[in-house]
């Protein structure tokens, strides 16, 4: 599979779209927009899985894709949206350092390419592209987690990291256990949501955590 053939081109396009969603995620200040960007990324991830399922003739990838679309594209955004509406309007956005984080993200994408491309020099084009984009997505999610303080934004960052990992996983033909992995990821995120929902960090601001440090 090389550039110029449809399977590669579509996979490339979807990967690029996920990267775009990750940048969109980083550029948001309002939490509602964060949730929307995350949902978009989840849907694109699902589409990528469906596409790979078709290309690799691997039916379990269809399942993964459908789970991703249903959970990450619909269900989790709905829950997060409900959580948001419970917050006072003033708490629905955060004063995040958007511009520096975007710059950092760009540098990290460059870094990911510099790391991924030489390592995979002998591999197939699809794998190289896949790895480069997945690594970028992962680093971008980490940037999101590192630059945000609200609990919900950090959850979004974690899910973005996870999306990157899943993108890498669906690119490996015949990867067993994919269904298990995606359901486990689902469990993780759902558990996370439940955790946030049930307990509620005061004001959902993890900066308050620092008070309990030390001792």
């Amino acid at each position: 599979m090389v550039f110029g053939q449809l399977p590669y081109d579509v996979a490339h396009l979807l990967g690029g779209l996920m990267l775009l969603c990750a940048f969109a995620l980083l550029a948001q200040r309002r939490l509602e927009a964060v949730v929307k960007a995350l949902a978009a990324q989840g849907v694109v991830l699902g589409l990528a899985a469906l596409w790979q399922g078709w290309v690799q003739a691997a039916p379990q990838l269809y399942l993964t894709g459908l789970i991703a679309i249903a959970a990450k594209g619909v269900l989790i955004p709905l829950v997060l949206g409900r959580m948001l509406r419970a917050l006072p309007p003033g708490a629905r956005q955060e004063d995040a350092p958007v511009a520096p984080s975007l710059l950092l993200a760009l540098v990290l994408v460059g870094l990911a390419l510099l790391v991924a491309l030489p390592i995979t020099a002998g591999s197939r084009a699809l794998l190289r592209m896949d790895l480069a984009i997945a690594l970028s997505l992962l680093l971008l999610g980490l940037v999101m987690m590192g630059t945000r303080r609200l609990a919900l934004s950090q959850v979004a960052g974690l899910m973005a990291v996870e999306n990157g990992v899943l993108l890498a996983a669906i690119g490996v033909a015949g990867m067993p256990f994919l269904v298990e992995i995606s359901t486990a990821g689902l469990v993780l995120t759902v558990g996370l949501l439940a955790g946030v929902l049930a307990r509620g960090i005061q004001g959902h601001d993890t900066g308050l955590l620092d008070r309990h440090r030390g001792g």
Binding site: V161, A169, L188, G195, L208
Partner: protein, 469 residues
């Protein structure tokens, strides 16, 4: 047999969730049965098929997990009553405890790295539930930190596993893509660059969970804010499972001469953990946080030993994991009981334990002496082995290791002196057999490991060391 070892606690978890009536006793019974199964599995020796495989590397850890599981169940028999949980919390606690044991066994025994990942993730989720069980703001924050940091860690580890599969993609059949045994066999033909990248992610990912610096910050909080039995199993079981994940990575990479050498990474991470914990231990005021930092220190020593490699290094590392897995829960049992009697877990509030409660106080003193690396316990033997091996193979590293060991050991001894000697501050209420039994059992086992390694155990450890680079 291996399957039964996973299914038994899992079934017990369901049972405890369904019928919480006599939960504490059932909990102990399930853990005892698990221990019997684990001993039987160890007698049977390495073997197994497909997904679950007992090998020399995980068998010692399985035994340790079963022992710690049983003694923690016994300890929590009395301790949970003191927490003042309502029935729902109590039910959740017992079910999650057995569920955690099942997930941990699965993580240790599974040959399939994907399955191992799923198990560790499940174990983490259950631990988070239990850490946040007290519902105080501090417990919530600790659970949150645990969750977020380990969430990243576990996701990065998954990426490492995916990268391993990518690396071996061309040389392995699809069904065997994630099998540890198959990956080890095929490592020589796998893509070296991808293997190296995979190891970095495995180290960072599982290193977060094992509490290696710089991703350790969840560990002291999670140990301090959860119920004491959770701190014991966190240190005794989960950290070891995470370390096993890293070891599997190193074992695979060792098969490919073109891949990154793993030793320097492990040694640097280990030394950093040891150094930072050695300094940080002096500044702790909270007893359980103190023991949490001590776990970081010991994981660092073990990582350093595995990094040194060779039969001596690997043997020392495994022995260290075992010794720490026995002594740290012992210290938690004693300290947790003392904190319950005093109503505070600050080091400054507890004193003169050896005079007011001799059995408890001397037990804590011995456990902490063991943690400080004094004979006759296993940690003395392993630390001695590490230092000797380092002196032979990498003498310059000793400049970092020895001061770290002394610094941390002295800090532990200083804390021990404050806790156990001086004027008593505790009420006269007896310590209770549920705390003393597990405590002295662990001390006896750790001493046995340190004084004279039983022959079957020695064979097992030597075989395990042969697996590692």
């Amino acid at each position: 047999m291996a399957l039964a070892l996973v299914l038994l606690p899992a079934g017990a978890a369901l049972l405890l969730a369904a019928w919480p009536g006599r939960a504490p006793l059932l909990n102990i019974a399930a853990s005892a049965l698990t221990l019997i199964l684990a001993v039987a599995l160890a007698m049977q020796g390495p073997g197994g098929d497909g997904w679950l495989r007992a090998d020399a590397l995980n068998l010692p850890l399985v035994l340790l997990a079963a022992v710690v599981g049983l003694s923690t169940a016994v300890f929590s028999f009395a301790d949970v009553r003191g927490e003042g949980f309502d029935p729902a919390q109590s039910r959740l606690y017992h079910a999650a405890f057995q569920g955690f044991c099942a997930a941990n066994m699965l993580a240790l025994l599974s040959d399939n790295l994907g399955l191992m990942w799923v198990a560790i993730e499940a174990a983490t989720l259950l631990c988070v539930l239990m850490v946040g069980l007290r519902r105080t703001p501090q417990a919530t924050e600790a659970a949150w930190k645990f969750f977020i940091l380990c969430g990243i860690g576990i996701t990065l580890a998954l990426f490492g596993i995916v990268l391993l599969a990518m690396a071996a993609h061309a040389v392995l059949p699809h069904a065997a893509l994630l099998s540890f045994a198959a990956l080890r066999g095929a490592a020589a033909q796998a893509d070296a660059g991808l293997l190296s990248l995979a190891f970095i992610f495995l180290l960072v990912g599982f290193g977060t969970k094992a509490g290696l610096v710089p991703l350790h910050s969840w560990l002291p909080d999670a140990h301090a804010e959860g119920p004491t039995p959770i701190a014991a199993v966190l240190s005794g079981l989960l950290l070891n499972a995470a370390m096993l994940g890293i070891l599997r990575g190193t074992a695979i990479l060792a098969g490919n001469p073109a891949a990154l050498p793993t030793a320097p990474f492990l040694m640097v991470a280990g030394l950093l953990s040891l150094g930072l914990a050695g300094l940080s231990l002096w500044r702790r005021r909270d007893g359980k946080r103190f023991l949490g930092w001590s776990s970081i220190e010991h994981m660092g020593i073990a990582a350093f030993a595995f990094g040194l490699g060779g039969p001596a290094g690997a043997l020392a590392g495994l022995l260290h994991l075992l010794g720490h897995g026995l002594l740290k829960p012992a210290a938690f049992f004693a300290l947790g009981r003392a904190a319950r009697l005093r109503g505070s877990q600050a080091i400054g509030d507890i004193g003169g334990l050896a005079r007011s409660h001799p059995a408890l106080g001397w037990g804590l003193a011995l456990a902490m002496a063991g943690l400080a690396g004094l004979p006759p316990f296993a940690l003395f033997a392993s630390e001695f082995l590490v230092a000797a091996a380092a002196g032979r193979m990498a003498p310059f590293w000793l400049l970092g290791v020895l001061p770290g060991l002394f610094l941390a050991g002295l800090a532990v001894l200083a804390a021990m002196q404050r806790l156990c000697f001086g004027a008593p501050t505790l009420s006269a209420e007896p310590a209770g057999r549920a705390a003393l039994g597990p405590l002295w059992l662990h001390l006896a086992l750790a001493a046995a490991l340190g004084l004279a390694l039983p022959a079957p155990m020695a064979t097992l450890l030597r075989d395990a060391a042969a697996v590692l680079p």
